[in-house]
C-alpha cells in the first residue's frame, strides 16, 4: 500500500496509509507533511485503494484541506487582537504598580541605609540577598545592615534552629521590607514577560503596523482604538491623537491648542524631531500607521514597501518604544522618490540631540 501511494521520489502522498474517513489524521498530514516533487496523487490514491474514484478522492481532499486550513488559521490567530489588548493593558498596569511599590521600597530601604540605584535593582538586591535566604553564603549584603537572615520565611523561627545566627538580628521590619522586595521583583519579572509576549504577539496580529511602529506601540494603538478593526477604520488624524484624548477635548472646548500627537509621540520619528516640526512628523507617521493598520486588518500580509516608505521619510525605526536606542544610521536614508517628507526630514529630522534650538 505504501509503495503505491509513493510519489516518483519516494515521498508518500498526503493520504498514504489513511482511510478516506481519517479527516483529522489527513489534516495533520497536510499541515506537517511534504514532498520534493508532486505526483499524480489522485490516480495513486485510487490505485492504493484510498479512494474509489476521482470524486471520492476530491471529497476526501476537500475535507482534509479545509480542516487543515481551519486549524492553521485558528493557531495563527491564537494571538488575536483582543489578547494583545489585554496583554498590553496588563503590561502598563504592572509597570505602574512596579513603579509605585518600587518607590516605596527605595524610600524604605534608604531609611535603613541601603544605597538604592533604582526600584527594581533595589528589590533584586534585597530579595536575592543571600544573607536573607536559607543559605548563609556570607556574601556581602548589597542591601546593607538592615537585612535579617530569617526574613525569607517567618515560619523558620518556630521549626528551624538557628544556632549559628545572631538572635539579636531578629527584625520584623526587615522581614516586611524583604517581602515587599520579593513582590516588586516578581511583578517586574511578570511585566517583562508580558512585554515579551506583546513583542511576540503584535507582529502576528498586525505585521505591518508592528514593523512600522514597533510591537509595543502597535499594541498600544490597537488597545486605544479597542481592536484592530476599529483602528483600521480610523482616519489618520484620529490615530495621530490617540492617547491624547484629554488634550483633544480641552481643545474642543476651546481652552487649549490642538494636540499634535498622542502615544505615537513615543516613536523615534516624532520624539527625535525638533519641537517645531513634531506636529508634521506626527501627522506623517500617523498616515503611514493608519495605512499599515488597514493592510493588516483587511489583507493580513506583510508589505515591506510600507516600511521602506517610512524609512524614506527619514524614519529611525526601533524595535520597541521607549528603548532609547537611536537608529541614527537610518535617520538620513536618502529619500528616494519620497517627496515632501524626505525633504522635511532631511534638515529637521532625527538628530538625536532632542534639542529645542529651533523652537
Amino acid at each position: 500500500m505504501t509503495d503505491e501511494s509513493d510519489g516518483p521520489t519516494g515521498s508518500p502522498g498526503w493520504f498514504a496509509g489513511l482511510g478516506p474517513g481519517d479527516v483529522d489524521a489527513a489534516a495533520d498530514r497536510i499541515r506537517e507533511g511534504g514532498a520534493e516533487r508532486p505526483a499524480d496523487w489522485p490516480t495513486l490514491a485510487v490505485e492504493s485503494g484510498f479512494a474509489d474514484g476521482r470524486e471520492g478522492y476530491d471529497e476526501a481532499l476537500k475535507a482534509a484541506t479545509t480542516a487543515a486550513a481551519r486549524q492553521v488559521i485558528e493557531e495563527r490567530e491564537g494571538a488575536d487582537d483582543r489578547q494583545l489588548v489585554h496583554a498590553v493593558s496588563a503590561m502598563d498596569d504592572l509597570e505602574r504598580v512596579v513603579n509605585e511599590l518600587g518607590e516605596r521600597l527605595v524610600e524604605w530601604a534608604t531609611s535603613r541605609g541601603t544605597d538604592a540605584d533604582g526600584p527594581v535593582e533595589t528589590a533584586r538586591a534585597i530579595a536575592e540577598d543571600p544573607t536573607a535566604g536559607e543559605g548563609d553564603t556570607g556574601g556581602d549584603s548589597v542591601a546593607g545592615k538592615g537585612e535579617d537572615p530569617e526574613a525569607a520565611d517567618p515560619a523558620d523561627d518556630s521549626d528551624y534552629p538557628r544556632a549559628t545566627r545572631d538572635p539579636e538580628a531578629a527584625d520584623p521590619a526587615g522581614e516586611r521590607l524583604h517581602g515587599l522586595a520579593e513582590r516588586v521583583l516578581s511583578l517586574a519579572e511578570e511585566r517583562d514577560a508580558t512585554r515579551a509576549f506583546v513583542e511576540r504577539a503584535a507582529p502576528a496580529v498586525a505585521p505591518n503596523l508592528a514593523a512600522l511602529a514597533g510591537p509595543v506601540l502597535a499594541a498600544r494603538l490597537i488597545a486605544l482604538a479597542g481592536d484592530l478593526e476599529s483602528l483600521a477604520k480610523m482616519p489618520a488624524g484620529t490615530v495621530q491623537v490617540l492617547g491624547a484624548e484629554d488634550a483633544l477635548f480641552a481643545h474642543l472646548r476651546g481652552d487649549a491648542p490642538s494636540p499634535k500627537h498622542g502615544v505615537i509621540y513615543t516613536h523615534e520619528y516624532v520624539r527625535n524631531t525638533v519641537r517645531g516640526e513634531r506636529g508634521s512628523a506626527a501627522r506623517a507617521l500617523a498616515g503611514k500607521l493608519a495605512i499599515a493598520a488597514r493592510v493588516d486588518h483587511y489583507s493580513g500580509d506583510r508589505r515591506p514597501e510600507l516600511d521602506r516608505e517610512l524609512e524614506a521619510m527619514g524614519n529611525a525605526r526601533i524595535p520597541g518604544t521607549g528603548s532609547g536606542v537611536r537608529a541614527m544610521g537610518n535617520a538620513r536614508i536618502p529619500g528616494t522618490g519620497s517627496g515632501v517628507m524626505a525633504m522635511r526630514a532631511g534638515p529637521t529630522g532625527v538628530t538625536g540631540t532632542g534639542g529645542d534650538a529651533d523652537a
Binding site: G34, E36, P38, T65, R76
Partner: protein, 215 residues
C-alpha cells in the same frame, strides 16, 4: 465585446456595461445576473489579464494551482470554470475569507502554505496541472514561479501578475519587470506580457509555458 476564449467565462451586462462573469455561488457580495456573477477586473489581476485579451490558455475543467489566493475573490471565479483548483495562501486573515469562498466549491482546495516552499505542499497538489496562476506579493515573485514549475504539465501555462512594488518600491517598474522576466526564463518561455496599468498600477501580466525538461 470580444468573445472570451474560455468556456464558462463570458461578458454579461451589469448596470448597462458589458463585464466579465462566471457561473457560481456569489462569495463577496458581487452583483449577479441570474446564475452569472460579476468578475470585477478592477479587483482581479487575472480578470484584467483576460479582459486585455491575453491568450491565457485557461480552459474549462483545467487543473489549476493558484498561488496567492488571498481572500479567494479571483480563485473563486477560477474554480467556477476550472476543474480541481488548489488555492495557496499564507496569511491567516484573508484565508478566513478564502475558506468561506471555498466552502461551496467542491473542487477548490485551500492550502495555508508559503508559495516560496513548494515542498510543503507537493505531497498534496497533483502533478501535470494545466495552469499555474500566480498573484503573490512577496519579493522574488519570478523565483516563486520557477520553483512551482514542477506542478505544471509540459504543455501547461503560467499566468502571473508581477507586482513591481513588491520587488522594489524605489526602482523603475520596467527595470523590475525586465529582471523578473529574465528569472522566469530559467524555467519558462514567455509567450505574452502586458502592463495592467492603470487598473492595477505597476503590474505586469505574464503568460508563459514551461521549458521542456523539468524546472
Amino acid at each position: 465585446m470580444p468573445e472570451v476564449p474560455i468556456e464558462g467565462v463570458t461578458y454579461r451586462e451589469f448596470d448597462g456595461e458589458q463585464r466579465l462573469a462566471t457561473r457560481g455561488e456569489p462569495v463577496y457580495g458581487e452583483p449577479t445576473d441570474g446564475e452569472w456573477r460579476l468578475w470585477d477586473a478592477r479587483r482581479s489581476k487575472l480578470g484584467a489579464t483576460i479582459e486585455l485579451g491575453l491568450e491565457t490558455g485557461l480552459s474549462a475543467g483545467d487543473g489549476v494551482l493558484y498561488l496567492g489566493a488571498a481572500g479567494g475573490t479571483t480563485v473563486s471565479h477560477v474554480a467556477d470554470f476550472a476543474g480541481p483548483t488548489y488555492a495557496v495562501e499564507f496569511a491567516p486573515r484573508p484565508a478566513r475569507d478564502l475558506l468561506a469562498a471555498a466552502e461551496r466549491r467542491d473542487r477548490l482546495f485551500p492550502l495555508l502554505k508559503d508559495a516560496r516552499e513548494p515542498e510543503t505542499y507537493a505531497h498534496v497538489v497533483e502533478s501535470g496541472l494545466d495552469a499555474l496562476v500566480q498573484d503573490v506579493a512577496t519579493r522574488g515573485q519570478a523565483e516563486v514561479a520557477v520553483r512551482n514549475r514542477r506542478f505544471l504539465a509540459d504543455d501547461g501555462r503560467l499566468v502571473a501578475a508581477i507586482k513591481a512594488r513588491s520587488e522594489d518600491v524605489a526602482r523603475d517598474p520596467s527595470a523590475v519587470f525586465e529582471d523578473a522576466l529574465a528569472t522566469l526564463g530559467e524555467a519558462y518561455e514567455v509567450l505574452e506580457t502586458a502592463r495592467l496599468d492603470p487598473v492595477h498600477a505597476d503590474h505586469l501580466a505574464v503568460v508563459a509555458r514551461p521549458l521542456s525538461g523539468d524546472g
